[in-house]
Symmetry: C2
Subunit: 458 residues, 2 copies
């Protein structure tokens, strides 16, 4: 039980993993390439809000820090869609009382770092991983300014070092490592809505705001100080795209046309747009996550970097940690068996959430502005309320069902697509008439014959 574990990367997942392992008595060394963010401001220009949902919370709960995090989170119970003429339409994410939570990535990371220290994790900052011996779980790190190298020996090493993982780069040099990195044609840029003069929120505080514009969109998430962090997801090239918006005039005209209700709320829009970087969106898949000999494993974005459109990147990484602990218990601390079991449970989940996240970009930027889609969501809500054991909307499975694996959610969601298409076309008089007497009778006739949902839980 006192094996030595090296965790590479003190981001969200690396910190949480270290906390969980230290609480079980392992001797954990956590090594981070950058400086201690608690003493340096380094999050400028990156998307700083995250949507923490039930999967992330389940993992934090396991680590005993759920309540501390919820104190600095803002619940968002639904989407608020903004049309071009400024009209707002609200769509709840789930049932009454269900919400996702806007949290600051930087603040969350600071809390997790301090928590790791309190648990006795030895944290080494400013050291970049330059080599890993997969046979011995020995890693070499180089100091970012002095260039001095130090070697860290361990029994097990985790690469929790993100989408551009150095540990994974090392695994790629081994034979038969499958790998893909795929960029979206869309990138993103961060923008800003400040608080009102009195410190209040200028948009509904408990919503995730979306300006869906078919081929692109802007979103805004609330911060504790009354501000909103906005993100424009937009094509890199083509028309319209970032490539076209190179002057302040062009940006101003574009925003006035497309986001007229947001422009008055964004006094620093033009400066922000010209200054903040245009970032890329990548999906990374790889296999195996665990090396032959079972001494080195990938976790979080290092194993499965996904696009942000389901708000599940951090949640998926935290869930990796929770499931790893579950495997460790099931295998009585036998690390090789634990890591094999972890990989077999999480690789299909990682692939599924990557697909779901790509699909949800289409839903967010395009479908949420579609009448038929919103109607379908309403019908789904009614069916779920009346047949809760037979129908659970996909969004609910992904976001509010932390014990249903992502790949089960994906499988059930695909089947429900077929079912909903059948219902939408069966309702007499068209789907608009779904809550007429005849409509509800048609829906009930279909639902009554369906079996109860059978899903794997973990």
């Amino acid at each position: 039980m006192n094996e030595r574990i090296t965790v590479v990367g003190a981001g969200l997942v690396g910190c949480l993993l270290s906390v969980m392992l230290a609480k079980r008595g392992y001797r954990v060394t956590l090594v981070e390439r950058r400086s201690d963010i608690r003493s340096a401001a380094i999050y400028g220009g990156r998307s700083i809000n995250l949507a923490m949902s039930d999967r992330g919370l389940a993992a934090l709960d396991e680590a005993g820090i759920k309540d501390a995090i919820l104190k600095v989170a803002i619940p968002m119970s639904g989407r608020m869609m903004h049309s071009t003429d400024g009209h707002q339409t609200y769509q709840p994410y789930g049932a009454e009382g269900q919400a996702i939570n806007s949290v600051s990535r930087g603040e969350l990371n600071k809390v997790l770092l301090s928590c790791a220290e309190e648990c006795g994790v030895s944290i080494v900052f400013d050291h970049r991983c330059v080599d890993v011996d997969t046979a011995t779980a020995t890693a070499v790190f180089e100091h970012s300014t002095t260039g001095e190298q130090r070697t860290v020996q361990a029994d097990v090493l985790f690469g929790a070092d993100g989408a551009y993982s150095a540990v994974r780069d090392r695994l790629m040099r081994q034979d038969r490592f499958d790998y893909s990195q795929t960029y979206l044609a869309h990138g993103y840029k961060e923008l800003h809505i400040p608080p009102a003069a009195d410190g209040g929120f200028v948009l509904d505080k408990n919503s995730l705001h979306i300006w869906p514009r078919h081929s692109y969109m802007m979103i805004a998430l609330p911060n504790l100080d009354g501000s909103f962090t906005c993100t424009l997801f937009f094509a890199h090239k083509g028309s319209p795209s970032f490539a076209e918006l190179t002057s302040r005039d062009a940006v101003e005209q574009f925003f006035n046309e497309q986001f007229p209700d947001a422009v008055p709320l964004m006094p620093t829009l033009l400066d922000d747009f010209m200054t903040n970087p245009e970032s890329s969106l990548v999906t990374v898949r790889c296999a195996p996550w665990v090396t032959a000999g079972e001494k080195v494993a990938l976790i979080g974005d290092a194993a499965h970097a996904i696009v942000p459109f389901y708000g599940q990147g951090m949640n998926a990484g935290f869930e990796d940690c929770r499931i790893l602990m579950l495997c460790l218990d099931a295998e009585n601390g036998d690390w090789p068996r634990t890591l094999r079991r972890y990989e077999s449970m999480r690789k299909p989940a990682g692939d599924a959430i990557a697909d779901l996240a790509l699909d949800n970009f289409i839903e967010m930027r395009d479908k949420v502005a579609d009448e038929r889609f919103l109607l379908r969501k309403k019908i789904e809500g009614w069916i779920h309320a009346h047949y809760p054991t037979k129908f659970i909307p996909l969004y609910t499975l992904v976001t509010f069902s932390p014990h249903v694996p992502y790949h089960e959610a994906l499988r059930v969601g695909r089947a429900q697509d077929v079912l909903m298409e059948r219902i939408m076309t069966t309702v007499p008089g068209g789907p608009e008439c779904w809550n007429s007497e005849g409509g509800l009778a048609a829906i009930k006739a279909i639902m009554d014959e369906l079996p109860t949902l059978a899903m794997e839980h973990q």
Copy 2:
């Protein structure tokens, strides 16, 4: 017209590209990581035969060296399938007079190297590419023993350095470079059939021999000296697999059971099996092939490494070179426009031949042992002979139609799959009766109503 061009990698594609460019007056520097193979034997344990077909020959013709290569090639006009009981079944690849050609990779490379020298190409051996500046087409090379570095400046740089390309590795570090490497669960091992005592061939010289065994296969290609090079394509793990054949006894028993007619022809089987490496099979896809600024481009395996089952790896790389010259002519030597056009023509072709090669593994190891499949091939041959403008078998499109792009071949092949399925199920009395009066009438009725094939040519 006297721009300087650096070609990284003096393998088959790098050499042919250098020859073509030098013949057009460009000043070409060709840099190779390894030593000059004309003075060193370095091909031990690697698959040394290649199947040169019409696409490769069309490119060699463009470079003026087709006849020199054909002199050292052995034509193979069909597949000879060997069943477990030693029965041999012959299946022609195409029409009378059509053949693919067994050539030695090493000999071909030596001829191409000498040809490049004769054309005035400056060849630098023993230098590994360690850096590329994509903005200036400047590359840094390091001597393999002294470690000394030299910088080569150019107007355009080509990465022709194979499946594990160093130039591509450099491009991967740029933003938004899509990349995937995917390994087959199967690997391969090279084995050997020596010539007869009198120097003759112990199997039919003008066939590609296949021992199809459903989940795996062995093949043999003839060499000029009367020997055959055999390759066993076999799962790395599982049952049966390389992982199971770790003792001489196990190997002997397996071969006696599965390849009894080949064993007496392989006197060094056990030594070869225990000594020769178990190699991997990878498919590499990436994009873009041409960097922003259009000064660096990938070509051949560096751009599209494929599995060997269609015998098209070298042919595809040579075709890249031929099409690049075609683009250069069309764009009057304007390199940026040439490279963009080259990429737009060849990227879809590279993706298509990668898919075709993966599909053909199933065909070679499994379907060629299937009666219905062989029957379909016979019917296809008859249809092609009677409706040559309406039906061209996929194998003929890929192998003997050098002006039809691979992606056109793939598209037409998929449509013909549907057509053949229809014909096989329509023939009265079942497909066995295809050449009865009623069978031929049914086939003619279907074919007569079809339009002439419309395909892009290049």
